[in-house]
């Protein structure tokens, strides 16, 4: 009897009308937004981090540094949800733009602020002697940053960075508020049809969990490879 009930529930929630596709389509949107937002976040974050740490060390980039600080304060001081709504209804309120772009922009700009502070802490954690050694050999600022500071800083902040992308992945679940169907919204849609909350929501949760576990697994692999130069 119970087995029959469960089979019936599974059929209703996932098979009928191909409802599992709502989850899969939603997952595609979630991954797409997370991917583009992460790329944008990394680019913004590294630029801001380099400007800020260079300013802290040498006093250059006064104006750019002030701009960066405003960016960090505003983004970190307001809820992601509000930023998303403003991006959709205020900034792009009167233009029709692909929502994937709107979402990626909102989440990317948001993530960039957190990435910036993570990367900056990584840069600041590197002994100033490393920069001096690079510069004394005749390398310019960019070469020193790229070949000497960044590889070491990146290794130090990798766990924090991956953590930020895990947060980002999960935070995209609010994108339903601007009318996009992501994984979460897909699950809610099934729920609204079947009046069953348990199965679709648990299914969505399991998919998020699997994604996060995969990210963690990847990070551990990269970390192990980066640690080849340390005492075993």
């Amino acid at each position: 009897m119970i087995l029959a009930d469960i089979t019936q529930d599974l059929y209703l929630n996932f098979i009928k009308e191909d409802r599992y596709l709502w989850l899969l389509d939603g997952l595609k949107t979630t991954l797409l937004i997370t991917f583009f937002a992460a790329i944008l976040g990394i680019i913004l974050g590294f630029i801001v981090a380099i400007i800020r740490s260079t300013h802290d060390k040498s006093g250059h980039f006064k104006i750019l540094n002030a701009v960066c600080r405003v960016y960090l304060t505003v983004i970190r001081g307001t809820p992601t949800m509000i930023q998303l709504l403003i991006m959709n209804f205020v900034i792009f309120g009167s233009v029709s733009l692909d929502k994937v772009i709107v979402g990626s922009l909102a989440f990317g700009i948001n993530s960039g602020a957190y990435v910036a502070e993570i990367v900056r802490s990584g840069i600041m954690s590197i002994d100033p002697g490393q920069t001096e050694a690079g510069r004394s050999l005749g390398l310019n600022f960019t070469q020193t940053m790229k070949l000497i500071i960044m590889p070491q800083a990146f290794k130090n902040v990798l766990p924090a960075l991956v953590n930020e992308f895990i947060v980002l992945l999960k935070e995209t679940s609010i994108i339903g508020y601007i009318g996009m169907m992501d994984l979460t919204k897909g699950a809610m849609l099934i729920q609204s049809r079947t009046y069953n909350a348990f199965l679709p929501l648990i299914a969505a949760a399991l998919i998020y969990l699997a994604l996060v576990m995969f990210l963690t697994f990847l990070m551990n692999k990269i970390e192990r490879r980066l640690r080849t130069n340390e005492r075993k």
């Binding site: 002994d127 001096e132 050694a133 005749g138 070491q152 340390e230 005492r231």
Partner: protein, 248 residues
């Protein structure tokens, strides 16, 4: 290994450096000629390290001039990176790149700056590792080395650029006592090969034996400079006498 008095490599004119209201260097003037081994001594906080670090502009002077091979490198319009390629520097704390192997440490700058091909730099690195007595360490990471070995690699890394002058900032101060000798020995060989050197150190034995000239810096000024024999045998400045009585 003879000093060529006609060929001035570095001309320091009235060098000043202030950190805020703290005047660390207060008008230093001296010439460093080709083949000289100038040893700089002085009490801690006297400005001797700042003086050395000014020579390749790791510290930007607040006054005076530094002419390196005839060019005023304190001029902001000068491409300092090009001149730094010719000024090797060895640090107290080695500052090897921990994410690179020993050989990569040595090859990094010449290859990045396109002064050598990878093959040339690799051959040069092998030759230098042989010279500093660590040919078997090419593929190890710096963390696996002892302090003395790290400093010898750091010297090799600076030499890979074929510098015209080498600056040493207390190269043995961070070393365990039993490792000081191997580094000083290498520096002595380097001096005998004719390398122009400026060495900030507390090793008075090295100053006496290897130096061609010794500078005593205190209060941001050169208080006395002389040949090692005169400097240690017949010091004139009262502060130098006081200093020597404490360290010898």
């Amino acid at each position: 290994m003879s000093v060529n008095k006609d060929k001035v490599l570095i001309e320091v004119q009235g060098l000043q450096k202030a950190f805020g209201s703290n005047q660390v260097l207060d008008g230093i003037t001296t010439d460093i000629c080709q083949g000289e081994v100038v040893v700089v001594v002085g009490p801690s906080g006297s400005g001797k390290s700042t003086f050395l670090r000014s020579l390749n502009l790791l510290e930007v002077p607040t006054g005076g001039k530094i002419l390196f091979e005839g060019t005023d490198i304190t001029d902001p319009k000068v491409d300092i990176n090009r001149h730094r390629q010719k000024i090797g520097m060895v640090f107290q704390r080695f500052n090897l790149f921990p994410h690179k192997t020993v050989k990569e440490n040595i090859m990094l700058a010449p290859v990045t700056l396109k002064l050598m091909t990878k093959e040339e730099a690799s051959a040069k690195a092998d030759e230098l590792l042989e010279r500093v007595g660590l040919p078997d360490k090419a593929d190890t990471y710096p963390e696996m080395l002892s302090g003395g070995q790290m400093q010898r690699i750091a010297i090799a890394r600076a030499l890979a650029m074929n510098p015209d002058v080498m600056l040493f900032d207390e190269p043995t101060s961070a070393l365990d006592p039993e490792m000081v000798g191997e580094v000083l020995e290498l520096m002595k060989e380097l001096a005998q090969s004719g390398m122009t050197m400026v060495v900030v150190t507390h090793e008075m034995g090295f100053a006496r034996e290897v130096g061609t000239r010794v500078l005593f810096i205190d209060d941001g000024k050169i208080q006395e400079e002389n040949t090692p024999e005169e400097f240690f045998g017949n010091p004139k400045n009262p502060r130098l006498k006081d200093f020597l009585s404490k360290v010898l």
